[in-house]
């Protein structure tokens, strides 16, 4: 019985991930990706990561995917006649080979799962994954990466502005 929620949400995630890859319509693809993201967000909540859950919904689903939609609408590429077409066969072959390799490796893991990992969750503190704990970690052990993040964002911001300018001043 306890498998049911996992299986249901996982099925939703996998189905829409496949839909993203196979759909001819880029906007439908984006919407299905949003659904994948939301179902993963529910997983995050169930896995005791409530802050990550909020960030996933607010940043990924709420901001990043809206940007994708915005650009697609701006360029108007998402129309009914999507740009999927015949692919060069070698790429398809490479993709399938890669996929098989990855799946094989995943299967390997399932078979040998649990090396070093407990099969079932360990007991956790009540505030596991809470914003307080995340904040404390970010400002103690992970202070340096946290600061570096600001550099990454700054560089990205400058880059996006430079690329988007119509002409250099």
């Amino acid at each position: 019985m306890t498998w049911i929620p996992f299986v249901l949400i996982a099925a939703v995630a996998v189905f829409f991930a496949l839909y993203l890859v196979l759909s001819k319509n880029a906007v439908h693809g984006a919407l299905s990706l949003v659904l994948v993201l939301v179902s993963l967000a529910i997983f995050f909540l169930l896995l005791g990561a409530e802050f990550i859950f909020i960030v996933q919904v607010a940043v990924y689903a709420g901001a990043i995917m809206v940007l994708f939609l915005f650009v697609m609408m701006l360029l108007n590429v998402g129309g009914a006649e999507g740009p999927l077409r015949e692919n060069p066969s070698w790429q398809l072959a490479a993709a399938i080979v890669l996929g098989c390799v990855l799946l094989f490796e995943a299967a390997l893991h399932i078979a040998r799962a649990g090396e070093g990992v407990r099969h079932f969750p360990q007991a956790i503190a009540a505030d596991f994954g809470s914003p307080e704990r995340i904040g404390q970690l970010l400002f103690s052990s992970y202070l340096l990466p946290f600061e570096i993040t600001s550099l990454v964002l700054l560089a990205a911001m400058i880059g996006a502005v430079v690329l988007a300018l119509r002409r250099f001043p």
Partner: protein
């Protein structure tokens, strides 16, 4: 758990990350000056950037003497210092080479230099990271500005195409990095590189490390993952290509060194061996038929990645061979910086406004018109080919001998053979420049190519350095050996305390059957 924000903690944090933030602060300053000062002052931006780079170098050296406490994210040992200084040298050359180019192609200046310096700080971060999270951030801080820089000639399709290709494949590689590190975390429960690799716990860890290696292999353009290189190198603005070919590669190898340093399990040796061999063979093979000089240099940079990976491979063997190999790698990175920048600078000068003349055919008989430039180009190309007495030769020699020392004679043989292949295509350009006649029609409308004073100075200095570093390799090698030692400090070794002596090793090397004739080296003093 309470937040430990003591003064000592903040101070250590500050000094450990000093190399990165000093360069980033300089970048921000350049950006602000570029944005808020009138256009007439923009020619001072590269000077400002250079000052920032020099200050950052001083801060790095100073910080290495202050910061002591390991915070588990980033370390500032002697490897970091040597590596950072190499990156800073590359950045400085990159800025100098860019400044006339940026003017000629009228690109936005403040942003250009700022992004370049941000990228360098990311590179420095990668070479200093002790934690996968840190390395991921370094990788992105390196890559994101590079994506933008390759698309900097926004009005030209070829540049945008390069930016898109680089971006998509680079992000693909980043996704591999994330998933690989996620697997490592799943297998070991830690994101610390040393702790994770020490755990040695089976298939999941192996696959994770493999995916991380794939991602870094992308960055340094190892052979199965090199597809983006020629297109991006050709499409990006030439100064960016030069910068990218040096700094991104060095950063990737810095990251690889941090991963290999704790000692990979022996399973990896074969794989790295194959990667190195494949990269050397394929890169050199495909370089031969290239018609475009930037694509030629792109494939040449792929093959050089193979040589460097060979040096890195020794690091995974044991710590004595590791010090040898790693110091050879650092030495080679430095030399490669000098000669590759030199070659690309000549390409910029020859190409003329709008980067028109970039085919090898355009170089035909160019020695008649501008003999000095042609001679300088020959110096850089011969050095890249590994012909004595230029620094490239010594760099390769050290790498090869380190490989033999560490027990990879086969790989060294492949390296020597592929170097011979390399000589062929580098020489071809030289031959085209000096021996062939210029096309008849060209003489009339082509004025003699002359370098601006900046390029004259840079090219002269680089050529001089390529020769001087080659002849005075000993102190440089000593310096890089100091960096390499700290990388293997934590590992058990047969004779870790014995400081590495290049001369002894060289002599041993020369006694081997496939030795080069390098008797003049005996007279050099190493330490």
């Amino acid at each position: 758990m309470s937040i430990d924000l003591t003064t000592e903690f903040i101070k250590q944090n500050l000094w450990v990350s000093a190399p990165v933030w000093s360069l980033a602060a300089a970048a921000a300053l350049v950006l602000l000056v570029g944005a808020f000062r009138p256009r007439s002052t923009h020619s001072l931006l590269p000077a400002l950037g250079l000052i920032g780079v020099i200050v950052s170098g001083c801060v790095t050296v100073h910080a290495s003497q202050i910061a002591t406490a390991p915070l588990g994210m980033q370390s500032i040992d002697s490897f970091t210092v040597v590596f950072d200084l190499i990156i800073l040298i590359a950045t400085a050359i990159g800025i100098i080479i860019s400044s006339p180019y940026v003017n000629r192609e009228s690109l936005a200046r403040g942003e250009y230099y700022a992004l370049m310096m941000f990228s360098s700080s990311g590179a420095m971060l990668m070479g200093a990271s002790d934690n996968f999270i840190m390395m991921f951030l370094g990788l992105e801080l390196l890559s994101i500005p590079l994506y933008v820089l390759s698309g900097f000639r926004r009005l030209e399709g070829i540049s945008q195409e390069a930016a898109l290709k680089y971006f998509l494949l680079g992000s693909f590689a980043s996704a591999f990095f994330v998933y690989g590190t996620a697997l490592v975390f799943a297998a070991t429960g830690t994101t610390s590189i040393a702790a994770a690799l020490a755990a040695n716990s089976g298939a999941m860890l192996t696959m994770g490390v493999g995916m991380v290696l794939v991602a870094l292999g992308f960055k340094v353009a190892l052979v199965p993952f090199h597809m983006w290189t020629p297109d991006v190198y050709e499409g990006a603005p030439t100064s960016v290509t030069a910068f990218m070919s040096v700094v991104a590669k060095a950063a990737g190898f810095g990251g690889l060194a941090r991963i290999v340093a704790p000692g990979l399990s022996p399973n990896w040796h074969l794989l790295l061996w194959l990667l190195a061999a494949g990269t050397m063979i394929w890169g050199n093979l495909i370089a031969i038929p290239q018609q475009n000089i930037k694509r030629l240099l792109a494939y040449s940079s792929i093959s050089h990645a193979g040589y460097i990976l060979m040096g890195l491979l020794t690091l995974s063997r044991d710590s004595v061979a590791g010090v040898d190999g790693m110091s050879a790698v650092l030495f080679y990175l430095l030399v490669y910086t000098l000669m590759n920048f030199g070659a690309f600078a000549v390409v910029i000068v020859f190409a003329g406004s709008g980067d028109k003349a970039e085919d090898i055919d355009d170089y035909r008989g160019i020695a008649r018109r501008s003999p000095l430039l042609a001679a300088l180009m020959s110096v850089f190309l011969l050095s890249l080919a590994g012909i004595p007495p230029f620094a490239g030769f010594f760099g390769k020699l050290f790498l090869f001998s380190a490989a033999v020392q560490a027990g990879y004679p086969g790989l060294a043989v492949i390296a020597v053979l592929t170097s011979v292949m390399g000589v062929f295509y580098y020489l071809r350009v030289t031959v085209v420049m000096f021996m062939e006649e210029e096309p008849a029609s060209g003489v009339a409308d082509k004025p003699s190519v002359s370098a601006s004073p900046t390029y004259g100075f840079v090219l002269g200095a680089l050529a001089a350095l390529v020769i001087v570093v080659g002849i005075l390799a000993a102190p440089v090698l000593n310096w890089t050996a100091g960096g390499a030692e700290s990388l293997t400090a934590g590992r058990p070794a047969a004779s870790a305390s014995v400081r590495y002596c290049a001369l002894c090793r060289l002599q041993r090397f020369i006694s081997r059957p496939f030795a080069f004739d390098c008797t003049e080296l005996r007279n050099l003093r190493y330490r």
